[in-house]
C-alpha cells in the first residue's frame, strides 16, 4: 500500500495540488491528513454516483468521494495508481479520489484570482478561486464544504 505522510506546516497559504483528468485542482493543506493509494472500497447501497464507497482507515469507516464525478466530470474508474487524499473538515473525515497528487505549493496572495463568470457549469459551484501558477498552470481551489457529503444523521447529498 502506497502511503505518504505530509509534514504539517503552519503556513496558511500552502495547498496540495492534484490532477483530475487533465485539470489541476488544489485544497488547503490544513485539512489534509494523509495521502494513500487507492484500495478497493465497499459499495454503499443507495449512494449517489460520486460516492465510491467506504474504506477502513485504521479502524474508522471513511467514505471516498470520486472528485471527478462530484465535479460533473466522467466517473473515475479507479486503479491502484489513483490516490485517496484523506481530509478532515468539521470533525468529518472523508477520502477524496484523485488521479495523482502533483505538488505542495506555497501560494502568494497576488496569484489568487476570482472565478470568472463562465456560465452554468456544474463544476463552477465547487470552485472558490483560481490560482495561477508560475509555470502557466491554473489551479482550481475546491470548496470543501460543498464537496463533502452531509454527515450526522442527514441524508448524504
Amino acid at each position: 500500500m502506497r502511503q505518504m505522510l505530509i509534514e504539517h506546516t503552519p503556513d496558511q497559504s500552502d495547498v496540495v495540488s492534484f490532477r483530475i483528468g487533465d485539470q489541476d485542482y488544489c485544497i488547503d493543506i490544513d485539512v489534509v491528513r494523509e495521502i494513500r493509494g487507492w484500495s478497493p472500497t465497499t459499495v454503499l447501497p443507495h449512494s449517489p454516483p460520486h460516492i465510491t464507497g467506504v474504506i477502513n482507515l485504521r479502524g474508522t469507516v471513511v467514505a471516498v468521494v470520486d472528485l471527478a464525478a462530484r465535479l460533473g466530470l466522467p466517473q473515475t474508474v479507479p486503479t491502484p495508481r489513483h490516490v485517496v487524499i484523506i481530509v478532515s473538515v468539521n470533525s468529518q473525515t472523508v477520502g477524496l479520489l484523485a488521479d495523482v497528487v502533483s505538488d505542495i505549493l506555497g501560494i502568494d496572495e497576488g496569484s489568487v484570482k476570482p472565478v470568472p463568470d463562465v456560465g452554468p457549469d456544474p463544476t463552477r459551484a465547487f470552485i472558490t478561486n483560481l490560482i495561477t501558477h508560475d509555470d502557466g498552470r491554473i489551479l482550481r481551489k475546491l470548496d470543501m464544504d460543498k464537496i463533502l457529503p452531509r454527515s450526522a444523521g442527514g441524508q448524504p447529498s
Partner: protein, 718 residues
C-alpha cells in the same frame, strides 16, 4: 473558583455512591423491617451522615436539614430506642427518594422537591415514636427547628445530665505537647463540672520520676451537651491517654455505673473501672454495638447499657472495591485500537500465507499467540465498559414505590442478579423501557389489595426483576404475580381499534403480542400513570434499537412475565456474513430465525413480482436483498439462499441472498460519523482482510420494501 468546583463535583460523585450504598441498606432493611441488621442500619446512617457533612461544607442548607432529620430517625433506630417496624419503612424509603432528589437538586441548582416538607413531617412523627398517635398529625406541620446542629428533635428538653469522665494521661501525651489543664478547661466549658485530681499514684518527692505520669483526674460534668461534643474534645488525645466516659445518671452514681468505653482493647488495668460483664462483652464482640446515650432517662437505661463500639463522629467507610474514574473517550479509543490490532493480525497472517514461507512453524505459532492475546485483550477492554445492572435496578425500586403510591396498591419489587454486567450504553438506554414496564406491571398487572385477598393472594403484590447471562446475551425478566393478561378484553380492544379483523383466529400468544401494537392501551380509563399514549410498542422499539428483543408470557390469574434479551455490548455483534450481489454484508444473528434453500420449498407467486415462501404453516414474503440495495438482483431463486428474519414481534420476512459465508463476532463501526445514514444499513464493520462490510438492518429493509411496493402481501399468520 475552579478548585472548589472540583471538590463540589467530587462531593456529588461521592453522594451517588453513598446513595447507592443507602439503597442497598434500605432494601435489606425492608426485607426484615422488624429486626433490621445493626450493621445495615449503621451503613445507612453513615451514608446519610456523610452526605450531611459534605453538604454542610458546601452550604447546602436544605440538604443538611433534611439529612439531619433523616439521620435522627436512623440514630434512634440503631440505638434501639425506635423500632419502626414495617409501617415506618415506606417513610424511610420515601425519605431516601427525597434525599436523592435533594442531592440532584443541589447539584443541578434547581429548586428542592416539593415533597420534602411532607416527608420531613413524616420523619418527625417517626422520631416521636412511630407515629402511634393519630392526633399528633394535627400539629406536626409546624416546621422543625433544625438550626441547632445537634439538638435532638426527639427530646425537646433534654434533661441536664452529664458524664463522669476518667482521664489518665500517658507520658506520650505530655511528650506530644498536650496540656491536660487545657483539655479539662474545654470540658468544663460545656457545662458545670467538679474536677477531682487523683494523686494516689504520685510518689513522694524523694522517689519522684519526672518521666513517669502519675496524675489522673475525674471529672463530674453536668451538661446538656451531646456525647459527640465531649468526644470531640477528647478525640485528639484518645490515643495518648486512657479516657473513660460514663453517663452521669445521678450525681451520686458516679463511677459505679456501668461505663461505656472508648478506649482501645489494650486498656491498661490501672484505670479504675468496673470490668464486669459489660467489659467482657466488649472483648468478645467485635461488631459495633449501639450505645445508649446519656439522654436516656431513668434507671432502665443503666442495666442494659451496651458498649459503644465506634465513635459516631467519624463515619467508617464500608470496604468498597477500589475503582478509578476514567473518561469514556479513552476507553473507546482503546477499544478501537484493539480492534485495529485484531485486523492487523489477520492481515499479517494473510501476508505470511501469501509469502509461502517454507518452514513457517515458528511464525504460525507466534501468530497464533498474538491472535489469542488480541482476543483476550479485546475481551478485557470490553469488560471495562461493562457495568453492573444494579444502579438501574435500584432506580426501579423507586419507580415501583411511586407507581404503587399513585395507584394506591401495595407492591414490592424484588431484584435478582443485579450484579450482572452489561455495556454502559445499554444500561443507560435500558432505564426508560424498564421504567415503563415496571409502571405497566404495577398499573395493569398487579390487582388491588381487595381483589388479591379475594383470590387468596397476599395483599402485597410482588414484581420480580431478574437478570441473568445466557449464551452471550443478558436476559432481563419482569414478572408480576398479578392477574395476567385479560385476553378477551385485549382482543376486544384490538378489534375496536381495528388492529385485528373481528373473529380472526388468534393464538393466546398472538393476543398477548397485540399489547406491543402501536396505539394499543388496554386500561379502560386513562390512568395518570401509564396512560400517556405511550404504549408497549415504544418499549419494544427502544429494546430493538439496542439490538434486543422483548417477549411476553402470561398465565391468567398468576401473572405476566416480560422477557428482554439484550446484547452484552453495543460494540460487538454476533453476525452472519453473507454475500449480497458480490458484496460481503453482515446480518445480525439475533434477528435470524432460520435459513433455507428455496429449491427444497415451494415458492409461491403473487401477481407479477411478489413472491412468498411457505414455512411452518405461514406464508412469508420474500425480499431480494441485492435488489433492495440497488445491486443486481440475486437472479433465479433456486440459486439463492433464503434467510428468514424476524423484524417485528412474530412477523417474518425471507431475505434472498447469494451465499452464506460465515458466522462471527464483528466490531460495530458507525457510518454516521463520517458519512450519514444509509437506508437498510445500521452500521459497518471491518473484516479480517481490512475491508469494510455493512451491517444490515432487517427492519429498515422491510419498511423500504413495503414503501416501494404497497402490494407487498401482509401475511403474518396464515
Amino acid at each position: 473558583m475552579p478548585q472548589r468546583d472540583d471538590l463540589r463535583a467530587a462531593f456529588f460523585e461521592e453522594c451517588e455512591d453513598l446513595l447507592a450504598q443507602m439503597g442497598d441498606g434500605l432494601a435489606l432493611m425492608s426485607d426484615a423491617a422488624d429486626t433490621p441488621e445493626l450493621e445495615t442500619l449503621h451503613s445507612v446512617f453513615r451514608a446519610v451522615h456523610s452526605i450531611k457533612g459534605g453538604a454542610g461544607a458546601f452550604g447546602l442548607n436544605g440538604l443538611v436539614d433534611f439529612a439531619h432529620a433523616f439521620e435522627t430517625v436512623l440514630d434512634l433506630m440503631r440505638s434501639g430506642r425506635l423500632s419502626i417496624g414495617s409501617t415506618g419503612m415506606p417513610t424511610l424509603l420515601r425519605a431516601y427518594d427525597v434525599l436523592s432528589d435533594l442531592v440532584a437538586a443541589a447539584r443541578d441548582g434547581v429548586t428542592e422537591p416539593s415533597s420534602m416538607a411532607a416527608i420531613l413531617v413524616e420523619l418527625d412523627i417517626l422520631a416521636d415514636g412511630g407515629g402511634a398517635d393519630e392526633e399528633d398529625i394535627e400539629f406536626v406541620p409546624v416546621p422543625l427547628d433544625l438550626s441547632l446542629p445537634f439538638a435532638s428533635p426527639v427530646e425537646p428538653e433534654p434533661a441536664p445530665l452529664g458524664y463522669m469522665i476518667a482521664f489518665a494521661p500517658s507520658a506520650a501525651l505530655y511528650l506530644a505537647g498536650h496540656e491536660p489543664a487545657a483539655l479539662l478547661r474545654a470540658l468544663v466549658r460545656l457545662g458545670s463540672a467538679r474536677v477531682i485530681p487523683d494523686t494516689d499514684e504520685v510518689s513522694p518527692l524523694a522517689a519522684f520520676d519526672p518521666g513517669s505520669t502519675a496524675l489522673r483526674w475525674q471529672l463530674e460534668l453536668s451538661t446538656c451537651a451531646s456525647r459527640d461534643e465531649v468526644d470531640a474534645i477528647l478525640d485528639t488525645v484518645s490515643h495518648l491517654a486512657d479516657v473513660m466516659i460514663a453517663p452521669l445518671v445521678t450525681h451520686a452514681a458516679g463511677m459505679e455505673e456501668e461505663a461505656s468505653t472508648q478506649s482501645r482493647p489494650s486498656l491498661p488495668d490501672q484505670v479504675p473501672s468496673e470490668p464486669g460483664p459489660i467489659a467482657s462483652l466488649a472483648m468478645s464482640n467485635s461488631d459495633p454495638v449501639p450505645v445508649m446515650e446519656a439522654r436516656v432517662k431513668g434507671m432502665d437505661a443503666a442495666p442494659a447499657s451496651p458498649i459503644r463500639g465506634q465513635p459516631e463522629a467519624t463515619p467508617v467507610q464500608m470496604p468498597v472495591a477500589s475503582t478509578i474514574r476514567v473518561n469514556l473517550d479513552r476507553v473507546d479509543r482503546l477499544i478501537n485500537q484493539i480492534g485495529e490490532l485484531v485486523i492487523m493480525e489477520a492481515m499479517l497472517s494473510q501476508a505470511i500465507t501469501n509469502a509461502q514461507i517454507e518452514d513457517g512453524g515458528d511464525i504460525a505459532n507466534g501468530l497464533e499467540g498474538i491472535k489469542n492475546l488480541a482476543a483476550s485483550i479485546q475481551e478485557s477492554v470490553m469488560s471495562i465498559r461493562a457495568q453492573p445492572l444494579k444502579p438501574v435496578f435500584q432506580r426501579m425500586q423507586r419507580i415501583t414505590r411511586e407507581a404503587a403510591d399513585a395507584t394506591g396498591k401495595s407492591v414490592r419489587l424484588q431484584t435478582i442478579g443485579e450484579g450482572n454486567e452489561v455495556d454502559k450504553t445499554v444500561i443507560e438506554r435500558l432505564v426508560d423501557p424498564l421504567t415503563h414496564m415496571i409502571r405497566n406491571s404495577v398499573d395493569h398487572g398487579i390487582e388491588t389489595a381487595e381483589r388479591r385477598r379475594s383470590v387468596g393472594k397476599p395483599a402485597e403484590g410482588l414484581i420480580t426483576l431478574s437478570a441473568a447471562h445466557r449464551s452471550g446475551r443478558v436476559i432481563i425478566d419482569i414478572t408480576d404475580d398479578g392477574a395476567g393478561i385479560d385476553r378477551a378484553r385485549v382482543r376486544q380492544i384490538a378489534e375496536e381499534r381495528g388492529l385485528v379483523a373481528p373473529g380472526a383466529h388468534l393464538a393466546p400468544s398472538d393476543i398477548d403480542n397485540l399489547l406491543f401494537m402501536p396505539g394499543f392501551s388496554s386500561k379502560e380509563e386513562v390512568s395518570a400513570l401509564s396512560g400517556r399514549g405511550v404504549g408497549l410498542d415504544v418499549v419494544r422499539r427502544e429494546i430493538q434499537a439496542l439490538g434486543g428483543r422483548v417477549t411476553i408470557q402470561s398465565v391468567p390469574g398468576q401473572g405476566t412475565t416480560f422477557t428482554i434479551a439484550l446484547p452484552l455490548t453495543l460494540a460487538v455483534l454476533e453476525g452472519m456474513l453473507i454475500d449480497v450481489g458480490g458484496e460481503t454484508m453482515v446480518l445480525p444473528l439475533s434477528s435470524i430465525v432460520e435459513t433455507m434453500r428455496p429449491a427444497s420449498v415451494q415458492v409461491q407467486y403473487l401477481g407479477r413480482a411478489a413472491r412468498m415462501v411457505a414455512s411452518r404453516g405461514a406464508l412469508i414474503p420474500i425480499i431480494d436483498l441485492a435488489e433492495s440495495f440497488g445491486f443486481d438482483p440475486v437472479g433465479p431463486l433456486e440459486q439463492a439462499i433464503l434467510i428468514i428474519v424476524e423484524y417485528d414481534a412474530d412477523r417474518c420476512v425471507a431475505l434472498a441472498v447469494n451465499q452464506i459465508h460465515d458466522q462471527r463476532q464483528v466490531v460495530i463501526k458507525s457510518l454516521e460519523d463520517n458519512y450519514g445514514d444509509v437506508p437498510g444499513i445500521s452500521a459497518a464493520t471491518i473484516l479480517g482482510d481490512g475491508r469494510i462490510a455493512l451491517i444490515i438492518d432487517p427492519e429498515e429493509i422491510v419498511q423500504s420494501a413495503a414503501a416501494e411496493s404497497l402490494a407487498l402481501p401482509h401475511v403474518a399468520n396464515g
